[in-house]
């Protein structure tokens, strides 16, 4: 297979992956953020403590998280057809991807929001702020670096899911790799898709880390991400060695 033959295939696959992952991430963030916040607020000791709501949301999220994506996709076929009118193609794949992404992101949001110092919530309460003010002015802005890191994780997970969606006709890079690489023994094309995915994921991770770190160093309360802290810790050690030498 020559490059001129591969190029249109790759271009189309990249576009399809981009559409699937882009839309599903957007929906996962829009749906998962309020759910995650609600999980924290309705929990015991939360501002909107409500055991019933907390248990119900928690169960839904758990079920969504525990189902293997490929099964979720099959299980949601009727729902997908009802929404998009079809179960084949990238648009159809967005539905299960988004539904799989919402609980995934919601759990990450929950963890991020839970880490916000309760003292800040108390301070805003003491100023006369209501729950909505606390969500808007404290929980979301203070958890923002973690929320960005969570979004990065979600995008990468959804890229992985999108490859599975490819096997049932969703298209995209995963589909391309399976069809040509596995079924037609076009090893070259398969390796190119692997390389594209690897590069894309590295870039996304880097961009996410960079954004989270930029926000952190502005606030700086919890310091840089663990990985960067490790890098920083190395510097003085190296300097010590040179001094000894």
């Amino acid at each position: 297979m020559t490059w001129s033959e591969m190029q249109p295939l790759l271009e189309q696959a990249c576009t399809e992956t981009l559409i699937m992952v882009g839309w599903s991430t957007l929906i996962a963030v829009v749906g998962g953020l309020p759910l995650g916040i609600l999980l924290v607020l309705t929990d015991r000791g939360g501002l909107l403590r409500n055991t019933l709501v907390n248990k119900v949301i928690g169960q839904i999220v758990n079920i969504g998280r525990s189902l293997p994506f490929i099964i979720l996709m099959v299980a949601l076929m009727d729902f997908t057809r009802w929404i998009t009118g079809t179960t084949i193609g990238s648009e159809a794949a967005i539905v299960p991807l988004a539904i799989g992404g919402i609980p995934f992101f919601a759990r990450l949001v929950e963890t991020a929001v839970r880490e916000v110092d309760h003292g800040l919530v108390e301070a805003v309460q003491a100023m006369g702020g209501n729950t909505w003010t606390i969500v808007r002015k404290v929980l979301v802005p203070e958890a923002l670096p973690s929320l960005i890191a969570s979004t990065t994780t979600t995008v990468i997970a959804l890229i992985g899911y999108s490859a599975m969606a490819g096997t049932v006709g969703g298209g995209g890079l995963g589909d391309l790799a399976v069809r040509y690489g596995y079924q037609r023994f076009e090893t070259g094309l398969m390796w190119i898709t692997v390389a594209i995915l690897a590069v894309a994921i590295s870039l996304i991770q880097f961009a996410g880390d960079y954004a989270a770190r930029a926000l952190h160093s502005r606030g700086g309360r919890s310091g840089p991400s663990p990985r960067l802290r490790f890098l920083k810790a190395e510097e003085p050690a190296a300097a010590d060695i040179s001094k000894v030498a």
């Binding site: 800040l120 003491a126 100023m127 702020g129 209501n130 404290v138 802005p141 502005r218």
Partner: protein, 348 residues
């Protein structure tokens, strides 16, 4: 300004097993307008619960809280959420915290503006007020900095500026200096004192450091096991025989130098101390007096405090000089050498 009556707070530690911890056990507190009132006690004494009950961050199990003539407990409503009226009342009560509780995602100025944002004030008004307050706490040049770039003392100054944005009449201070070094503690206390005088701000502070009470409080209360054991103005406490707070605030030490000596603790509560009693005593009875220890402060132009003096001769020989001192309106406790504890003489 702040009155609590029969304030009780019971925490249920385990719902099913019915374990209970009584953090506040019928606390009656009365803070007068314009004074700095210190509540001191060890950790676990209930100080934190008390101050959180004053603006109802913690809902008392029973009892009432009145701030500036408003019964806040009546505004509380039901459920865990604060209703609009309570939130409004809270916005008129400033609060500073031990760990500052500044939003790391906002600049210093934006942190100070936050209470005004909550009150729905316009951007121009907010920044004017914020800059004015930052100037007042001496941080006008740090408006654009982030909290992470400030020292502990500077962070607490921002916390104080933020607490003042709602033009409160009352400032609650929850261990505001406990996370700071002694030098910074002094400067923050000085600032609080200054604000109290300049703005007529009533300050209720809780602390576990006696120095805090000593340096700025007009009145103090001692808390133990959820109860207020002693309370009153510094002068009143001094006048109370055996007051733990008074002896902690004005500690005197010193041992008798020989067997035939009389050691007396003289307490000045402010009315008599303008006269040089000790030298009068010395001149009138022609006795040599040594001062073993003294802790005297001038509060509002009057001297308050305690002094430990030694007179030659046994107590029996000194009945007349002791009588003279009591006539001057001083409280005299005779220190028994056998037992280090004070022998309580019926001075009052």
């Amino acid at each position: 300004m702040i009155t609590t009556t029969g304030l009780t707070k019971v925490y249920r530690t385990h719902r099913s097993r019915g374990g209970e911890v009584t953090a506040l056990d019928g606390v009656d507190l009365h803070v007068r307008e314009g004074e700095v009132y210190g509540v001191i006690g060890q950790s676990g004494a209930g100080k934190s619960s008390l101050i959180r009950c004053v603006n109802l961050l913690e809902r008392p199990t029973s009892g009432t809280v009145t701030v500036d003539g408003r019964d806040l407990t009546a505004l509380a409503g039901r459920g865990p959420r604060a209703g609009r009226e309570l939130r409004q009342a809270r916005s008129r009560i400033g609060m500073v915290f031990q760990h500052f509780n500044l939003l790391s995602s906002r600049t210093v100025q934006d942190n100070v503006e936050l209470p005004l944002e909550i009150l729905g004030k316009s951007g121009k008004e907010r920044s004017r007020k914020a800059l004015e307050l930052l100037d007042l706490v001496g941080l006008a040049d740090k408006a654009k900095a982030y909290p992470a770039q400030l020292s502990g003392g500077q962070k607490q100054r921002v916390g104080i500026a933020r607490a003042l944005t709602g033009d409160p009449k009352v400032l609650l201070s929850d261990e505001a200096t406990s996370a700071l070094d002694p030098e910074t503690t002094r400067s923050i206390l000085h600032l609080l004192r200054d604000l109290n005088r300049r703005l007529g701000l009533t300050v209720l502070l809780i602390t576990h450091e006696m120095d805090v009470v000593k340096s700025i409080c007009d009145s103090a209360a001692l808390m133990e096991n959820g109860r207020i054991v002693e309370s009153g103005t510094v002068t009143e406490l001094l006048a109370t025989p055996g007051s733990e707070l008074a002896s902690a605030l004005f500690p005197v030490g010193g041992e008798a130098s020989g067997d035939d000596r009389t050691v007396l603790d003289v307490t000045f509560h402010g009315d008599s101390a303008t006269q040089p009693v000790i030298s009068q005593l010395s001149r009138t009875y022609n006795i040599d007096i040594s001062i073993l220890g003294a802790a005297i402060d001038t509060v509002g132009g009057l001297q308050v405090g305690r002094m430990r003096i030694e007179l030659p001769g046994r107590y029996e020989d000194n009945v007349v000089p002791v009588g003279f001192l009591r006539e001057q309106g001083l409280q005299i406790d005779v220190v028994d050498r056998e037992q280090p504890a004070l022998v309580k003489e019926g001075a009052k």
